[in-house]
Symmetry: D2
Subunit: 317 residues, 4 copies
């Protein structure tokens, strides 16, 4: 089954969009990136999110990218396609194409400029009406990026009204309590169950799992850490899961710098062989000599720590 649903869990990695140094989509890197993610054990992949530079792609590019990506994945894991767009027609167009290509669902954030919660509700009423009942939807709650805030009761109203809303991407910040409130209300008993995956670069992943998250949806350049943390946690070894997490935390924090974080992430993916160029489309950040030396130091420290741990224990970090 390659569609997302209320029971979906694990790690949905947020994919970057690989470009050549000239800024064109690098199709060869798309292929290698897909394999990289799948080899690392992710449960799914989300494309065309904000970190996927979706807003800098032409609509035709987005469609072509979704098609190519989904075909390359070839049903091995579900692919969620970010379709947020200032125009509803464009949103629906991409969503329908993506589902035709075999996407597992779509991710929608409230449009920038929505101010009250009634406006958010009206917006999603229009979105769900246009998408119809068969497109599984992940609601992206990312106020830091969208400027739109939704309270828990309003979100729960959406859950009540639209059965195709099956996933909550939690990345309000700070938002541990909000995550927990949604979890308790949507646990399958107090209310219809939905899947909750957490973003925010994974900075609070152990805490979020304790609060009831079903996994992560973020783009950290070491997906195997996210996978290992989730697997270990759900195997009942929460402290061990957090030990693994803490090893990577300095880098998680480093990637979590808004703006330049994307350039850092792409550079690490390049070094790891996942993509050929770390290019970010303009306007976007560039790493200079100081940034690269700083990254060198952090990666060396990580490597040393991983080596030490592997020597001391059997942690599959």
């Amino acid at each position: 089954m390659t569609q997302i649903g209320p029971e979906t869990n694990g790690v949905f990695i947020i994919s970057v969009t690989p470009f050549t140094d000239q800024g064109e989509i690098d199709w060869a890197s798309v292929d290698s990136l897909v394999e990289f993610y799948i080899v690392k054990g992710v449960s799914g992949i989300t494309i065309l999110g904000m970190m996927g530079e979706a807003h800098k792609l032409a609509e035709t590019e987005s469609v072509a990218f979704a098609k190519h990506f989904i075909e390359r994945v070839a049903g091995r894991v579900p692919v969620i396609v970010g379709v947020s767009n200032p125009g509803l027609d464009s949103l629906v167009h991409l969503a329908k194409r993506a589902m035709d290509f075999g996407a597992g669902g779509v991710m929608v954030a409230p449009a920038a400029g929505l101010k009250t919660e009634v406006q958010i509700r009206d917006y999603f009423a229009a979105v769900f009406k246009r998408l119809g009942p068969t497109v599984p939807v992940c609601f992206q709650d990312y106020p830091l990026g969208t400027g739109v805030n939704i309270s828990v009761p309003t979100f729960l109203q959406l859950v009540d009204d639209y059965p195709s809303l099956v996933m909550f991407k939690h990345e309000d910040w700070p938002g541990l309590k909000k995550l927990q409130q949604v979890r308790r209300a949507c646990d399958g008993q107090a209310g219809r169950r939905i899947s909750i995956l957490c973003g925010n670069g994974g900075l609070y992943l152990p805490q979020e799992l304790h609060r009831g998250a079903d996994g992560a949806m973020t783009g950290f350049a070491y997906p195997e850490m996210l996978v290992s943390v989730c697997t270990t946690f759900f195997a009942g070894r929460s402290d061990e899961a957090e030990d693994i997490f803490d090893i990577y935390l300095p880098l998680v924090r480093h990637e979590q710098q808004i703006g330049i974080g994307l350039a850092i992430r792409k550079e690490i993916l390049r070094r790891r062989g996942a993509i050929r160029s770390a290019a970010v489309r303009m306007p976007g950040p560039r790493l200079d000599k100081d940034d690269l030396e700083e990254l060198d130091r952090l990666l060396q420290r990580l490597e040393r720590r991983l080596t030490a741990i592997r020597g001391r224990s059997g942690i599959a970090a």
Copy 2:
């Protein structure tokens, strides 16, 4: 009766806070300003609002200003005291002092930084609990100034929960539909009646009256226009009311420039003899030679128009 209530109507002028050229409160001008407003026929006065530079007064100054002002008014009209404050203790302290001095009620805007409507509700729950049931409250809905947006259902919930909430100061922008929705829900039949007075410099006053407002709460430097428009409208002559309004509209628009508008308003009040200095506390706008010449032209045009109208008709503009 000098307390506000659900039936309150007419013009509540938003008072400036007069300063000397050195930036001290000019108590003599407070006295003359009170008389100016009352002579112009206002139904009430609101002090220590945003245009009253309340955030630039020390707490002791605010208390002293409220006391002096209310004593000078001496019960001739109700005085509403703006008590919005980042700290709840400070808010409550000023509110209680003001009521002791004989204020007709207090005005509270949601604190900057509130993001969801649940947060707004929780905030006002705390406010009303601390104020107790006997302090009449005007809710100031001014998202452009506070950054906080509330939808109609959430506001109506506050009306249901707190009987001492008796007035809605409408200045969402644009917000004609919102005003009307509140009106229809709080008309005394569909729901408990509350008073609705409109701000935003009065820029849409005739439209707001058509939509069900009970009057204006704004600081236009010609209060007699606001009074005349409201009186004429409620006498059933809406077109005549709008004719009066349109005569002043160029100046209403001119005063409605955020920031410099306050300096313009104080300069007009100074020219009209209401206060002695147009000083605005730092940081604040200053009028330069170009601004003053521009204002000269606008005031001359207004004067010419008023003269022509008085010649042609009996309009009491």
Copy 3:
């Protein structure tokens, strides 16, 4: 000559994008709208601005719209194409296509998310480098829409650095002093002359002309008023120009409501026969019965006033 330059003046009307009730571009209405604007005497037309719902068009639609529009105008007046886009590649792509079609220049606003003035300068350095020296550029200064603020010295630095920057679309608010500072610095003597056209719905047009604007670039549904005001003002009859303006001011103000203002404007254009449908693409405002009755009243008042004036004088309003 159909390219814009430092001497460009008069009224550049901001065109709406006409849609059918189903939300498709209504090509027949594009044609009628072009004729409507030209008959009203505009000096130029700006398409794909924010009020043109550019952000809700797919890139292919924008290209097709620009092509069709420019061909229909057929060189009678210059056409400026708004090309602002979160992605620089998309911006440049549309700009180059537009110039190929015969556009008179392009309009660029700083990308949302730029925070410091150094970032703004860097952004425009990239824009101008990619556009090359032959594409005339209008800088759109619209902080209320973009969230990006630029001070006068930073803007003047751009003027110094990029000769193809030939026009300043002023719509900071309030911003009369800013307009004047740019005017004095770019008057052809103190510094290189550039054209200054004013937006903000025209709400302060007479004041802006006094401050040195070369005309208006806004979308008011009665373009003939804007033309008449500018022509009369530049003929040396500033008071008469403002008299004409003030007749329309209630409606100018009514259209200047952010969000719903666009629906009002399209409805008036529909009533005037310029377009067949007032449809706004989702998400976007809709007028209800109350809004339409309110508009009826305002248009009747305008009509009465115009009739009275025409009877009394020879004003070509």
Copy 4:
């Protein structure tokens, strides 16, 4: 010497303001808190910052708090007093009182609402004029809190213009490059030296030290970690410094949640005996059962890690 200057370095802890459970300033806890900080080895203390809930204190409380605090410190380390205020008079009043009490300097952030960098410059021109040349000033660069962004050239202009500007509190985010640019320009050779201390909860402290910071100014509840990291780093053992830091990083990150982070910090300080109550003034966050259990887990993990480290090595963490 208890005044700050261009050579100031080390850890300036940002002090909380201790309240009783009833919300009054808890003077006994002020005394114990002072001793706690000094015992932990800080080089200075900053009071009445944003995390000190300064905006929720009445002006008279701020003055009394500054007086009491400075007297208790009694010259053992310099005390910086945050004096940011929407009104310039209030700012200056508190600054002068604080200096009279023996403060080491004052901290000023640009007032909320400043939009362009010219406005920022004008604002600080007024601030420095009013403060005079003898009050050492720390510029707080905290856009996430103030909404005001300043670029490096504009800040350097302030350094050139005002010799009493001796310290830069860096907490733009992300802002490692900005910090480095200020460092290189203000290194005592390329330009006048100023002190640079870093905030943001210390989340990037090792990176900031590498980039040239002179230390930290933040409020982490384990000041001894900040001290140890800085001391070790400046002793030339940067990797060891970062090892110490990384032990605490999970908690640093946990405290760095805007809003609730303050409640967490106060709760830890309470548990450590520094203050008697973790109360935060309204409106402010409260920790519930889930929050407290989460904190328990994180503190236990920290304790275990510290024990393990102490066993294995001689790290004075």
